[in-house]
Every structure is written in structure tokens, then in C-alpha cells.
């Protein structure tokens, strides 16, 4: 017994060095996390009618504040634009993470504006199910719809997802990256199942996304375990040091690399891990699809770049050929399958797959120009996608959104403005000059060509040409065919959707005509902290 008392005494004396966490440097992430928690409390304690306004205000104000924090942190970066790591080396605050966080927050603001739109449904309410837990078509659901219920949990869920997205490209160790991956994914799985119309399709999308997402997370986690086994650390820096001198083919390292890459490629929707994309994009509520398509790609490409550039630069001769292959397959498959699509949302989904291939092209360059061009492309692509999905929410008939392409015939004659905006987004997707798509594609192809991936550039240009065909086909359909008699109508949205679309148009045009300031910014921000 005396030894035990001695034991307690010794325990009491020793002090653990408390880790330091610079909350200031994490402030963008912490602000959004706080907003999400406040959102949950609003759900818990505010009466139903007051929730919508409160949630919207809190989310928008929080995101603007977080954007301010990002700008403040970016101005604090030292002159050589090298960042620093914080939270015991788990989170990097450097150029790429701040640039992408800023992008994500702007996309988040636009997405929340879309999510908050309540003027499109004829019976009132937003794009989300009045009671998501009720079985589709059940009496309960009808009652909830008749009572005019709306779910405002969407906002905290979106914010939680945004927290994960902000953390994902900034995560400087693989465990933090995994946590971020889960935080960003889990709310998205739920959000996908919340559509007000086509409930079964929506639930199917959510389930598919969840199952495949969980599967890919498992891959990611196994890969992390392998890399830990190889290097004895989950920190990207240390893995980078350990793998720099890898001469022989170390199985642990290669398997780990491949498995983590699978997890990341799943999130960006690259072939052959793309199969979830069309179904999920089609089934999810359209504002969520827009958010998911734009923001998840930004976050996942950020994380992927950090993983390959920081942890595995020494292994580039091993992973580059594979990634080049993936990029080629992704571009080709995305572009070719898109041609056969008859549903606007599926079309945009396959287009997003093709774009994942284009973005991969920039990443593979393995140079600062590659990073900056990829980031530029992500900004350009994010806003175009968001804008395109926002337009999709406006074209409606009695059964909700009219997403079948045949319904869009002659839309340009009925409402030239909406069709014109959509045409602009399609041209940007196709990469026609004077749109942001052109600047982005030019930047990534240039970087790839300089990085010695000429073959990739050739394929990329060819695929762009193929893709341009189906984008232009939609434009032709909208402007040069007769409108159907019982065709859809374009609903006049509230100022929120209008603002989101306007933002998309503005970014598309500005980045198309005057891309240089943003390119410069991306250039400055292209250094990963090691």
C-alpha cells in the first residue's frame, strides 16, 4: 500500500507540457465551427418560425467574418509567402490553405444564398423535405408538407460540412486530414437525402453516396495506417522526409500511397472512382449539388495537392505515371459519357468528372505553377458550377425542377436572360476564350506542358473539344429549337438566388477577361509549408 501512495505522489508531480494552440491562426475554421454549433442551438431553442431568419443571418455573418479572418491571416504571411504550422503541426496556415479557404468561404456564401431560397416552390418552402425522417409518400410527409413545415437543420449541416472543407486542404497530418474528410462528408451524405421533390431518388443518392463514401474513407484510413507503418509518423512533413530517400520499392509506402490516393480521388470524383457522381448529383437537392460540386472539389484537390507535394515529392516518379493515367481516363470518360446524357444534372455531373481530369492535369505538373494554376482553375470552376446549378433550380414545371434536356428546348426564346446566363456557364465549362474556363484550362495545360506532361495536354485539348460539343449542343437546343407547348417555366427567384447567379456570372466574366490579378494571387500563394 505504501508503494501505491508513492505512486500517486509521483503522478501528481510530473507535468505534461501542454501543447500550444494558436487559436488566432485557426480562426477561420473555428468561426465556422462556432457558427455550426450556434446553428444547432438555434434549432434547439428558437421557435420554428424564427429559425429560418436566424440561421441564415448567423451563417452568412459567420462566413463573412471567417473570410475576413482569412484575409487577415493572408496579410500576416511573411514576405516570402511561406506559411507556418500550428496546433502541434497538425494544421498548416500557408498560401494554398488560405487561398483555398477563401475560395471555399465565398462558395459557401453563394451556396447558403441558394439554400435559403424560398420563392421557387409553388406551395412555399425551400428545396428541402418538410420532414426528412418520414417515409416518402407517407401520410406523415403529406401532413408535414400541408402544415408548411421547413427544415432549417440544413444550415448547421452545411456549416459543419464547410468546417471539414476548410480543414481538409489545411490538414498537415494524415489523421487531421481523415478527421476533416469525415467532417466534410457526413453532413453531405445527410444533405443529399433531403430533397423535397423526388424523395426516393434523393434517398437513393444519399445511401449510395454514404456507402461508397464510407468505403473510400476506409481505403484512406488503411492507407494512413500503411504510411504510418512505413514512416513512423502521420505528419506529412515526416512522411516526406522518410520517403525522400526511398530507393527500393517499399511495399508499405507504395500501398499506403495508393490507398490514400484512392480515398482522395473518390472525393474529387475521378475515374475509376466516379460512379457515385451522376446519381448523387442528380438525386441531391440542387442547391446542395451545387455546393457539393464546387466546394468538395476545391477542398479535396487542396488536400490531394498537399498530400502529393508535401508528403511524397520524392516518390513522384512512382505516382506521376499512375496519376497521368487517371487524369487521361477521367477526362476521356467524363467527356464521352456526357455526350449521351439527357438530364441536365447528370450532364453537369459528367462534366464535373471531366473537369476533375483537367484539374488533375495541373496538379501533376509538380511545380509551383502547377499549384497556382490548379488553384486558379478551382476558383473558376467552383463559381461556374455553382451558377449552373443555380440556374437549374429556376427552370421548373409542375413536378419540380425540369431537368430533362428535352424540356429545355427553346428556353432561349421564352426567357433569354436565364438561357443566356446558362449558355455563358456552358461556354465557360467548354473553355471558350473570354470566359474563366479558358483562363483556367490555359493555365493548367501550360503548367502541365512545362512540367513535362505533354501527352496529357494533348489529350486534355482533345477532350475539351469533345466536351465543347455537348455543351454547344445544349446551347443550340435552348436557342434554336421550338419551345414545347407544355414546357417548363422559369420562376423568378428572390434576391438571394439572383445574387448567387450574379456572383457566378461576375467571376466567370472577370476571370475570363482579366485573370491576371487572381493568377498573381494564386502564384503568390503557391508555396506549401514544409
Amino acid at each position: 500500500m505504501s508503494m501505491s501512495t508513492a505512486a500517486t505522489a509521483t503522478l501528481a508531480v510530473t507535468k505534461v507540457d501542454a501543447p500550444t494552440i494558436e487559436y488566432g491562426k485557426l480562426s477561420p475554421i473555428l468561426i465556422i465551427a462556432g457558427v455550426a454549433v450556434v446553428g444547432v442551438l438555434i434549432e434547439a431553442f428558437l421557435p420554428r418560425p424564427a429559425r429560418y431568419r436566424a440561421q441564415l443571418t448567423v451563417a452568412l455573418v459567420g462566413m463573412i467574418a471567417a473570410f475576413g479572418a482569412v484575409v487577415w491571416l493572408a496579410r500576416d504571411l511573411p514576405d516570402d509567402h511561406r506559411g507556418s504550422v500550428t496546433a502541434m503541426g497538425a494544421v498548416a496556415v500557408d498560401g494554398p490553405s488560405l487561398f483555398l479557404q477563401g475560395t471555399l468561404l465565398l462558395i459557401g456564401i453563394a451556396s447558403v444564398l441558394l439554400i435559403g431560397e424560398r420563392r421557387l416552390e409553388p406551395a412555399g418552402g425551400d428545396a428541402f423535405a418538410p420532414q426528412a425522417a418520414a417515409a416518402p409518400g407517407s401520410q406523415q410527409e403529406k401532413d408535414a408538407a400541408a402544415a408548411g413545415w421547413t427544415q432549417t437543420e440544413v444550415y448547421p449541416l452545411t456549416m459543419f460540412s464547410l468546417v471539414g472543407m476548410l480543414l481538409f486542404p489545411a490538414a498537415n497530418d494524415l489523421l487531421m486530414m481523415f478527421v476533416a474528410l469525415e467532417i466534410l462528408s457526413l453532413p453531405l451524405y445527410l444533405l443529399c437525402g433531403l430533397a423535397r421533390r423526388h424523395r426516393l431518388l434523393s434517398q437513393e443518392a444519399a445511401l449510395k453516396y454514404f456507402l461508397l463514401g464510407a468505403f473510400s474513407s476506409a481505403f484512406f484510413l488503411f492507407g494512413v495506417a500503411m504510411l504510418y507503418g512505413y514512416s513512423g509518423s502521420v505528419s506529412l512533413d515526416k512522411i516526406g522526409v522518410a520517403s525522400a530517400g526511398a530507393m527500393d520499392n517499399d511495399a508499405l509506402l507504395l500501398i499506403g500511397l495508393a490507398m490514400v490516393a484512392v480515398g482522395l480521388l473518390f472525393k474529387v470524383g475521378a475515374v475509376p472512382f466516379h460512379s457515385w457522381t451522376p446519381d448523387v448529383y442528380q438525386g441531391a437537392p440542387t442547391p446542395i449539388t451545387g455546393f457539393m460540386a464546387a466546394a468538395t472539389k476545391v477542398a479535396a484537390f487542396g488536400a490531394m495537392m498537399r498530400f502529393f507535394y508535401v508528403a511524397l515529392p520524392g516518390m513522384r516518379w512512382d505516382w506521376r505515371p499512375v496519376m497521368i493515367g487517371v487524369a487521361i481516363v477521367t477526362m476521356v470518360a467524363g467527356a464521352i459519357i456526357a455526350i449521351t446524357q439527357t438530364d441536365v444534372k447528370r450532364l453537369l455531373a459528367y462534366s464535373s468528372i471531366a473537369h476533375a481530369g483537367f484539374i488533375l492535369t495541373g496538379m501533376i505538373a509538380m511545380s509551383d505553377a502547377g499549384v497556382s494554376s490548379t488553384m486558379f482553375y478551382l476558383v473558376a470552376y467552383g463559381f461556374v458550377t455553382l451558377g449552373a446549378f443555380a440556374v437549374v433550380t429556376l427552370v421548373r414545371d409542375a413536378r419540380g425542377e425540369a431537368t430533362h434536356l428535352s424540356h429545355w428546348a427553346g428556353l432561349g426564346r421564352r426567357s433569354p436572360l436565364v438561357a443566356g446566363v446558362f449558355a455563358l456557364f456552358l461556354l465557360a465549362f467548354a473553355g471558350i476564350p473570354l470566359t474563366s474556363g479558358f483562363s483556367g484550362k490555359f493555365a493548367v495545360f501550360q503548367a502541365a506542358a512545362r512540367g513535362g506532361a505533354g501527352s496529357l495536354v494533348v489529350v486534355g485539348v482533345l477532350c475539351s473539344a469533345v466536351a465543347a460539343f455537348f455543351y454547344v449542343r445544349v446551347i443550340v437546343l435552348m436557342f434554336f429549337s421550338e419551345p414545347k407547348v407544355d414546357g417548363p417555366t422559369v420562376v423568378v427567384p428572390s434576391v438571394m438566388t439572383t445574387a448567387a447567379i450574379a456572383l457566378g456570372v461576375a467571376v466567370t466574366v472577370v476571370l475570363g477577361i482579366l485573370p491576371q490579378p487572381v493568377l498573381d494571387l494564386a502564384d503568390k500563394a503557391a508555396l506549401f509549408v514544409h
Binding site: M1, M3, S4, A7, T8, L11, V16
Partner: protein, 447 residues
């Protein structure tokens, strides 16, 4: 740091020779079985006295051998395997329920170091750096036995009983687990022997009264004992999960329940009542109370006291309703224990930082009082929404005592309609309910 903690917990354990381990294991097993037999007899006796009866009397002196006789009787009963049962699971379930209950005893300290056949050894089978966590773990495995028993019986009542039982046990396991955290905070260890040693000056029941109370409530819920014996509610579920079991399979469940009672009592003794250490007045007058084999006596007495409380509660309290029971677990015990834990942690951290204790206590007490006042104010200012909702829900729909042709009791918030009586002695007040207009003798005539 971690290494030293691990080693310290292991000092003096893991060094016994094999026959000593075997001997101790057999003794502990025997102790459990004897305690079970004894507890059953004692329960019947005490409940009998509380109900002014005599209780078992004829088998052995004062009926002491009654439970043994019952065991033999059970062995001679037919072992039925129901037609709808999932055979393999049905047979394994009682073992799954029983074995973990015994295994939990491996880390219970019965006393300090003693000498057995010339070997110095602890009166404890083994100790782990995570002993209490281990007990929680094996206790959770025991729940499987109950769920599987209910599920595999292929019968409605056991299924419901098993589900209820598992819901109940996992609900109370949280409160139970949270109440331990405060103890670990003080002892700086999860090893049972160290926790006992750390209580040499003051028992944790005195230092952490709220944790102790929460644990005692949770342990009764955890063992499915009255007043929380809903899984076996005879009135609604026949016998709960063991309805379809007979013979020695049933006896194994019975054994598991009583061994579990002894386990949770032992754990309460170990964590809160100083384990095998002698109670205060005895140590003051008798130096040797904590040496040799005496501590086992203190341990035994403390455990018996807890078992008496179990029996006492059973003899006194009526059974809870399921929703009330879950409400206590989730809405009272869990927030209470979390807040209490953070309170304890704050006080301790401030004390470690060198603040004066009386000051801290004053501040914390002030904060708690302020919070309570605020909550009272809140309650006074805001109308209770739940009650409003209830009133609204109950309002438009009058209660029908004969819904669907069967008499049903009223739900909370519903009012029984006035019963028509034949002889109304008192004059009805003016504007009396419509019941007075009912033809009073019609019911009479039909009856």
C-alpha cells in the same frame, strides 16, 4: 509518464505462482457462488420480515440451505428448448450472461497483501492499469447474453424484455461511467488497488457525494433490480428475457443477476467506500484493523450493506414506468454527472494552480447558486412548452375510457370522465358534467 503509471499499477501483481493463481481463482469463484446462495436466502428472509412473514425456515438452520435446495430442484426440472428458438444462440446465451459476471471479479480487491502458505500475495486475483474500464467492458459483454437470450427465444415477451433490458442497461451505463471519471480524477489511476489505497484518508463517498449517489442509482438500474426491474415486469412481460428458459439454464441467469449484484456492490465499495479499508471509528481505536486478513471482513461487511440496500429497495419501492425510468437516466443522471464532473475538475485544477481552497469553494458555490436562481427565474418567466403541447394535444380529443371496446387507463394529461353512480348522496352542483344526465341505472342493469 505513461510507462511509469503502467508499471506502478502492476507492482505486486502478475508475479504469483501458478497454483496460487488457480487457488485464488477457485476461491473467488466459490465466494461468488456462496454469496449468491446466501444473498438469495437473505433476500427472502429480509423481504419476509419486511412483510411480516417468516420466510424460508425448514431447509437447514433458519432455512439457510433453501437456495441450495432450489438449485437442486432446478437441476431436476425438464430442460425445455422452445420450438421457435434459434438453438445455438439459445443455449449459449446463459453462459454469455454468466461468465462475464464472474470475470469482473478478477480485479476486485478483497484485501491487502497477505501470506498464503508462505507466499506474500494480494487478496486480489490481478490488477490492471485499466481495471475499472475492464469491469465496464465485461459488464457490457454480459448485456449480450440478455439480448441474445431474448432474441433467440423466438417468442414475443422475451424479445421485448431483452430489448428493454439492453436499452435500460446501456442507458444507465453512461451515468455509471461518468460517475467513475470523478473518482479517477482524484485517484489518478484506474487500477482498483490504487484507488483503494488513495482512499486511506477520506473515502470518495465523502469527497464526491454526488458521484456516489449517481453510481448507486445507476448500479441498481444496471442490475435490473427493483425499482428498476422493468425487463422482468411480470405484469406486462411475464418474465422478460428468461421467460422461455427453464431448468439450469434459468438458474444460470439467476446466478448472473446475483453475481452482478455482488460485482456492482463490490465496485461501489472499492471506488467510494474505501474498499477493504476499515471504517473510521475502528481505525481510531484499533491499530491493527488494516493488517492481516481483517480487511476482508470490512470488505465483506460493506458489500453486505449494499446488498441489504438492494433488498430493502425491493421490499419498499414500487416499479418505475419505462418512460419515467429512461427519463431519470437520460435527463437527470447524465447532465447531472457531467456538470458535477466539470465542477470537480474545475475545483481541482484551481487548487493545483495554488488558489486557496475556501475561496474556490465559495466561488463555485456562488456560481452554482446563481445558476440555480437563473434557472428558477427562467422557469418562472417562460411557460412550459411541453405542457402546453400536451394540453393542446389532449384538449380537442376527449378521453375515451372504452377505446376499441376494452377499458384503457388514461394517459398523462387526460381526465377520466366522471363515473356514473346510482346513489348520488350529495346534490349535484349546478352545471354539473354531462355524466349526471347519463341513464345511471342502464349500466347497472347490464351488469
Amino acid at each position: 509518464m505513461t510507462d511509469s503509471g503502467m508499471q506502478l499499477a502492476a507492482v505486486g501483481f502478475g508475479t504469483d505462482v501458478w497454483w496460487l493463481i488457480l487457488l485464488k481463482a477457485v476461491l473467488i469463484f466459490a465466494f461468488c457462488v456462496v454469496m449468491t446462495l446466501f444473498a438469495i436466502w437473505w433476500e427472502r428472509k429480509v423481504v419476509a420480515w419486511m412483510q411480516m412473514r417468516i420466510g424460508p425456515k425448514y431447509t437447514g438452520p433458519q432455512g439457510l440451505l433453501q437456495s441450495l435446495a432450489d438449485g437442486v430442484k432446478l437441476a431436476l426440472k425438464e430442460d425445455i428448448t422452445v420450438k421457435g428458438a434459434d438453438k445455438a444462440v439459445y443455449i449459449i446465451a446463459p453462459i454469455v450472461a454468466m461468465v462475464p459476471a464472474f470475470m469482473a471479479f478478477a480485479v476486485i480487491p478483497f484485501g491487502p497483501e497477505v501470506s498464503i502458505f508462505g507466499h506474500r500475495t494480494h487478496l486480489q486475483l490481478t490488477d490492471l492499469p485499466v481495471a475499472v474500464l475492464y469491469i465496464l467492458a465485461v459488464a457490457s459483454v454480459g448485456i449480450y447474453g440478455i439480448v441474445l437470450a431474448g432474441w433467440s427465444s423466438g417468442s414475443t415477451y422475451p424479445l421485448l424484455g431483452g430489448l428493454r433490458s439492453s436499452a435500460q442497461m446501456i442507458s444507465y451505463e453512461i451515468a455509471m461511467g461518468l460517475s467513475f471519471a470523478a473518482v479517477f480524477l482524484y485517484s489518478g489511476s484506474m487500477s482498483t488497488s490504487e484507488i483503494v489505497a488513495a482512499q486511506q484518508d477520506t473515502w470518495y463517498a465523502v469527497l464526491l457525494p454526488v458521484s456516489f449517489i449517481i453510481y448507486v442509482v445507476a448500479m441498481i438500474g444496471e442490475t435490473n433490480r427493483a425499482p428498476f426491474d422493468l425487463p422482468e415486469a411480470e405484469g406486462e412481460l411475464v418474465g422478460g428475457f428468461h421467460t422461455e428458459y427453464s431448468s439450469l439454464k434459468f438458474a444460470l441467469f439467476f446466478l448472473a443477476e446475483y453475481v452482478n449484484m455482488v460485482v456492482v456492490s463490490s465496485l461501489a465499495t472499492t471506488l467510494f467506500l474505501g474498499g477493504y479499508l476499515a471504517p473510521w471509528p475502528i481505525t481510531a481505536v484499533w491499530e491493527g484493523a488494516n493488517s492481516g486478513w481483517w480487511p476482508f471482513l470490512w470488505y465483506f461487511l460493506k458489500v453486505q450493506a449494499f446488498i441489504f440496500v438492494f433488498i430493502w429497495l425491493r421490499g419498499t419501492l414500487p416499479r418505475f414506468r419505462y418512460d419515467q425510468f429512461m427519463k431519470i437516466g437520460w435527463k437527470v443522471l447524465i447532465p447531472l454527472s457531467l456538470v458535477w464532473l466539470m465542477l470537480v475538475a474545475t475545483v481541482r485544477a484551481l487548487k493545483n494552480e495554488g488558489y486557496e481552497q475556501s475561496r474556490i469553494v465559495l466561488w463555485v458555490a456562488g456560481g452554482v447558486v446563481a445558476l440555480l436562481l437563473l434557472s428558477i427565474l427562467w422557469d418562472a418567466v417562460t411557460p412550459n412548452r411541453d405542457e402546453e403541447a400536451d394540453a393542446k394535444a389532449a384538449g380537442p380529443e376527449p378521453f375515451d375510457p372504452m377505446a376499441g371496446g376494452f377499458p384503457v387507463p388514461p394517459m398523462p394529461g387526460q381526465q377520466l370522465p366522471p363515473v356514473p353512480r346510482r346513489n348520488v348522496r350529495k346534490p349535484e352542483p349546478v352545471g354539473a358534467p354531462a355524466a349526471a344526465e347519463l341513464p345511471a341505472d342502464r349500466t347497472e342493469g347490464e351488469a
